[in-house]
């Protein structure tokens, strides 16, 4: 009960500056990365015209992501498809990792969603500048008239906060509810169902929403 908000940290000095590492989050992220690498190796090990089950699953996933990206961005190129599919499977496995006893979701630590949100922010604005040119890009901030420019800048920054806090709040809230309810009923019967709801259902939806919103931001910025 009392270790809900405890985060394992490890501090060390590097060239005079003190660095702090959230060890548990880092280890969980590495586990997710290892699982993704293993899945990718299994899925693409022996590519054939008549695919084996693993290759078939990989093909279903990649083509679904390809279709989603093309429909949302309204293009025929595959520029953002690798990013989108990687982001989705990383968040999906991260949100599901909490169901394994002894491990925790990396997304329960604000650092993970916030870094992914900042990545999306820079990606969106790089794509917008590349697509429209710097002059047109800066001109859009002065819509509908010049005085609104600070508000538009704040609005862009608020997108990062809202997208990362949404994921963080959902996952941490789910973890706290599971922990509190399990403590109250002495872990009888109910916790597995809670894990199914908050881990599988909410985790999947939030991973999808984070991915979808990142694509939508890119789509809005480049149009």
């Amino acid at each position: 009960m009392k270790d809900i908000t405890y985060i394992a940290t490890y501090s060390f000095d590097l060239f005079g500056t003190s660095l702090t590492v959230n060890t548990f989050t880092l280890i969980n992220t590495w586990i997710v990365m290892a699982v993704i690498i293993v899945l990718a190796i299994i899925g693409t090990r022996s590519l054939k015209g008549f695919p084996n089950p693993a290759q078939r699953l990989a093909e279903i996933y990649v083509s679904a992501m390809d279709k989603l990206t093309k429909e949302t961005l309204d293009t025929t190129t595959r520029t953002y498809m690798p990013l989108v599919s990687t982001l989705f499977i990383f968040l999906l496995l991260s949100n599901w990792l909490g169901m394994i006893p002894g491990l925790a979701e990396p997304t329960k630590d604000l650092n993970t969603p916030l870094s992914l949100g900042i990545m999306g922010f820079f990606l969106t604005h790089t794509a917008a500048i590349k697509e429209k040119g710097i002059v047109q890009y800066l001109k859009e901030y002065c819509q509908p008239f010049f005085i609104m420019a600070p508000l538009n800048v704040v609005g862009e920054l608020a997108k990062v906060i809202s997208i990362s806090f949404r994921l963080f709040g959902n996952i941490l809230g789910g973890a706290i509810i599971i922990s509190v309810v399990s403590h109250m009923i002495y872990s009888l019967v109910l916790p597995p169902f809670l894990y199914v709801f908050f881990g599988l259902f909410v985790g999947t939806i939030q991973a999808f929403v984070f991915t979808m919103l990142t694509i939508t931001y890119i789509s809005v910025a480049t149009k």
Binding site: S162, F165, I205, F208
Partner: protein
């Protein structure tokens, strides 16, 4: 026996504020998400072959309207776990 100290008042106010934040903050997203789900049901009833697109759009819209509720949750968590009297 001492009276109530300032730290205890701060702690009590933080816990009260957390409950109020979550309670009031849950009203808006509850109404909004229910409204969106109801409208999506109507749309699917009228146009069943677009169910996949409608569900996807509904989920994204609901997640966006949920963010105020999530802010309330984050504020409540901050008040409970970070504010020490």
């Amino acid at each position: 026996m001492d009276g109530i100290t300032g730290a205890e008042i701060i702690r009590a106010a933080a816990l009260l504020g957390a409950g109020m934040s979550m309670g009031f903050g849950a009203i808006g997203p509850g109404i909004g998400e229910g409204f969106a789900a109801g409208k999506a049901c109507e749309a699917i009833g009228r146009n069943p072959e677009e169910a996949g697109l409608l569900t996807r759009t509904m989920l994204v819209g609901q997640a966006v309207s949920e963010s105020t509720g999530i802010y309330a949750l984050v504020v409540a968590l901050l008040l409970i776990f970070v504010v020490k009297g």
